[in-house]
Every structure is written in C-alpha cells, then in structure tokens.
Amino acid sequence: MKKVYPDAKAALDGLVFDGMTIMAGGFGLCGIPENAIAALHATGVKDLTVISNNCGVDGFGLGVLLDNKQIRKMVSSYVGENKEFERQFLSGELELEFNPQGTLAERIRAGGAGIPGFFTKTGVGTMIAEGKEHREFDGETYIMETGLTADLSIVKAWKADPEGNLVFRKTARNFNPMMATAGKVTVAEVEEIVGLGELDPDSIHTPGIFVQRIVKGAFEKRIEQRTVRERESA
C-alpha cells in the first residue's frame, strides 16, 4: 500500500467529516502540522472536536480553524495565546475541556495503546477530580482518567521513509508520537521523505504501523517568543 501523497489536500481526501474528532500535534507553534491545518481550513469541515495541547495563535496554527469557526470543542492544557479563542469561549460559541498537560499526554498514549482508563494522582483534590472515580493504592489517592482516540491524527515529523517510519527533531517531538498512535487514521507531514533504508532502524521514534498517509510539507515554523542573548564583545 502506497502511503506517500502528493500534498496535504490529497492526504486528507475522504477522511474529513463534520463533527469529527481530530488530534493535532505540537506544543505552542513548535512541531505543528501546518500543512494539514491549512488543508482542513480549505475543506471547510466544521463542528470539530480538536485535541491539542494548545490552540495556536491568532491567524496561525489551529488559530486559522478558530477564525473560520470550524472548531466546536477544544481539549487542551493551555490556551492563553489567542484573542479569538477568548472571544469565542466567553461568548459560548466554543466548548473547552482543560486537561493537565501530563494527563492529556497519558490519555492519548493510553488511547493509542488500547488502554481505556488509568489512575493518576495529578489533580486529586482539585476541580479536575470532580465526578471522577477515586481509588487508593498503597495509601495514596488517585483519580481515574480515560484513554483518548480520534477519527484523525495530524502530526508533524522531521523525516519519514515511504513505510511511514518517523523521526522527530528536538522539542518539535512533544505530543506528535502519542497522537500518531491514537488516530484511526494518522497523516504525517514531514520536511523530508528519505528512501527506504536511509533511517537508522534503531533511531526511529514512531514505527510506520502508526502512520497511514505521509506528505512532504512546506513549513513556516513561526516562533512565539524569540529570546536571544548578546555575544560578549572581545
């Protein structure tokens, strides 16, 4: 089966429908699937539930889907960088489910691994724990969290081979590997597609079984906080 598609539009063909759940990789604007987001924007698909640590910024990343009112619900840990998000949330147009970041990561990992629920001490005694099953293990209290899956996962990697084996780069890895495992279909966009045998099998981060479609993308890689230091003059 051929996994490589010519562009993001082709890679999403037949996969999108109104009301679907989509996982989108990235932390802030780092390691986000820019090309699939643009292609989703172009389809006009709506009433989306989007599971992603953040929701982009105004006019970039997942922010473009917000601007187009394509998102009905976000499942995230932090959404502070987006005025249109704030407007839609406060006006009641947009639903929001906060998850602690580690709980979100583990729910996705569990979902992809066929684990429907697990216990964690994160959030015990807070509003996150309300309505959740509590259980003691060795005298400590834990709450039950459920695994998450999605109709579609869109992830961003550095390199892929035609089998869909993926290698990520630096902190652009973040949520992408777990999300690749938790989508019924996973579309990976990469900076480079290399030939079979060119990736070191011992250094592959995501094995190709988790990736159904691959596309080579073009990336803007916008920076949120450009912090630099001065070279000391000699």
């Binding site: 932390f27 802030g28 604007l29 780092c30 390691g31 640590n53 995230s76 840990s77 932090y78 959404v79 502070g80 960088e81 704030e86 406060l90 929001l96 906060f98 602690p100 970041q101 580690g102 709980t103 979100l104 990561a105 583990e106 996705i108 990992r109 964690t120 001490k121 994160t122 959030g123 015990v124 005694g125 807070t126 509003m127 996150i128 550095w158 990520f168 780069r169 630096k170 902190t171 652009a172 890895r173 973040n174 949520f175 992408n176 590997p177 777990m178 981060h205 890689k221 916008r222 920076i223 949120e224 906080q225 450009r226 912090t227 630099v228 230091r229 001065e230 070279r231």
Partner: protein, 219 residues
C-alpha cells in the same frame, strides 16, 4: 526593603543541590537559572520534552524546533536529550524530578497551592502545573508576600481553584522563607529589612517562628 524578584530567585537557587534534576516554572522561577552556584551541577528539565536545557541562543543560533515550556527559544547542551510529552510527564509524575520551583497566586497553611485560574477572568489553563505539584519530589514556591492590593497570599485556605492539595514544601516570599509543617507554616528566614510585625500584618495563614530564625542582612 525586602527581597526583589531577582533576590527571591537567588534565594531559591540555594534550594538546588549537586546532581539535581530541576523543573523551573514560567515567570520569576526561570530567573533561578541565572543564580545557580558554580560549584554544583544541575540538569534543567523542560516539560515540553527536553532534559539538559541550555541558555538563550545567540541570534544566529535561533531554532524554531528548540523551545522551552514558556515557548522561548533556547539551546541544547552536550548532555541534552529530547523525548515525547508522555515521557516528559513520566519523569514528572513518576517522581524522577528532584525539585520544582513554581509561582503561585495563593498558598494555604497546609501547603495547598492555587496558581492556574481566577473564576470570572480569562482561564488560560493549568499546563503542566498540576502534574508538577503532584509528582515532583520537592515543590518550592516563589511569590510576592501580598497581592497588589496588599492582601495576604498565605492563607488559611485558598480561595481560588486549587492546583494541588498539601503538596508545597517551602515558600519563598518577598518578606521571608516559610516551611510547610503539616497543619501550619514555620517562618525560618526573614528577608533584609522585613520585620516580624510586617509579616504578622500580611499573613493570614497560621504560622510559627523558628527558634533558629535567620535574619538576612541587606547585601
């Protein structure tokens, strides 16, 4: 008088020990990295998936694929490793990180912390804070002793939604240092120029004063 934010960060840096794996929160806690003693070796963890975080890059080293949890561009070190968010929180939740230094809006006399939301105002989210306070071996808070209106932030009970219950070990404020002793706080250090009277007037939480109270002199 009292400690500035930078001086609080310097005091917090004294909490670090040789060999520690350390997670620093966003804001004032990031300043702690500027004050780490030269004779100790610590490794900074960034919860977006990096162990061994280096300083900000020079202009020509900026890499959009290399950021910290505050989304700032940073650099790697020779010891650096990268990993997924799930592995990152396995380190945090699993008790592998020695210390986390965080900011707070309120801390209670039993070590509860509130630092993620103010009802009725914009809610930005807890990010990794709930996982950090639940899982890291030792959690130290740096914060102003009172809020902008002059009201106490060390309370009998937090009024804001909690980030975690009974999870804080030590609090460094502009006026001094407190340890959490189960059902009350203990004042162990006074910042330069701070007085017991001033602390009494700006603290709602129940606290005792240590017999070995350290009174810092102005630098």
């Amino acid at each position: 008088m009292a400690w500035t934010r930078d001086e609080m960060a310097a005091r917090a840096a004294q909490e670090l020990e040789d060999g520690f794996y350390v997670n620093l929160g966003i804001g004032i806690p990031t300043l702690v990295a500027n004050h780490i003693a030269e004779d100790i070796d610590v490794t900074l963890q960034s919860e977006n998936g990096m162990l061994g975080m280096g300083p900000f890059p020079y202009e020509d080293q900026v890499d959009p694929d290399l950021i910290n949890a505050g989304k700032q561009t940073i650099t790697e070190l020779r010891r650096t490793s990268y990993f997924s968010s799930a592995d990152s929180f396995a380190m945090i939740r699993g008790g592998h990180i020695d210390i986390s230094i965080l900011g707070a809006m309120e801390v209670s006399e039993t070590g509860d912390i509130a630092n993620w939301m103010i009802p009725g105002k914009l809610v930005k989210g807890m990010g990794g804070a709930m996982d950090l306070v639940a899982g890291v071996k030792r959690v130290v808070v740096i914060m102003d002793h009172a809020n902008k209106a002059g009201e106490p932030k060390l309370l009998k009970e937090c009024t804001l939604p909690l980030t975690g219950k009974a999870c804080i070990d030590r609090i460094i404020t502009t006026l001094g240092v407190f340890d959490v002793k189960g059902d009350h706080l203990e004042l162990i250090e006074l910042a330069p120029g701070a007085t017991l009277e001033e602390i009494a007037g700006k603290t709602e939480a129940k606290y005792t004063v240590s017999d070995a109270l350290v009174e810092h002199e102005a630098a």
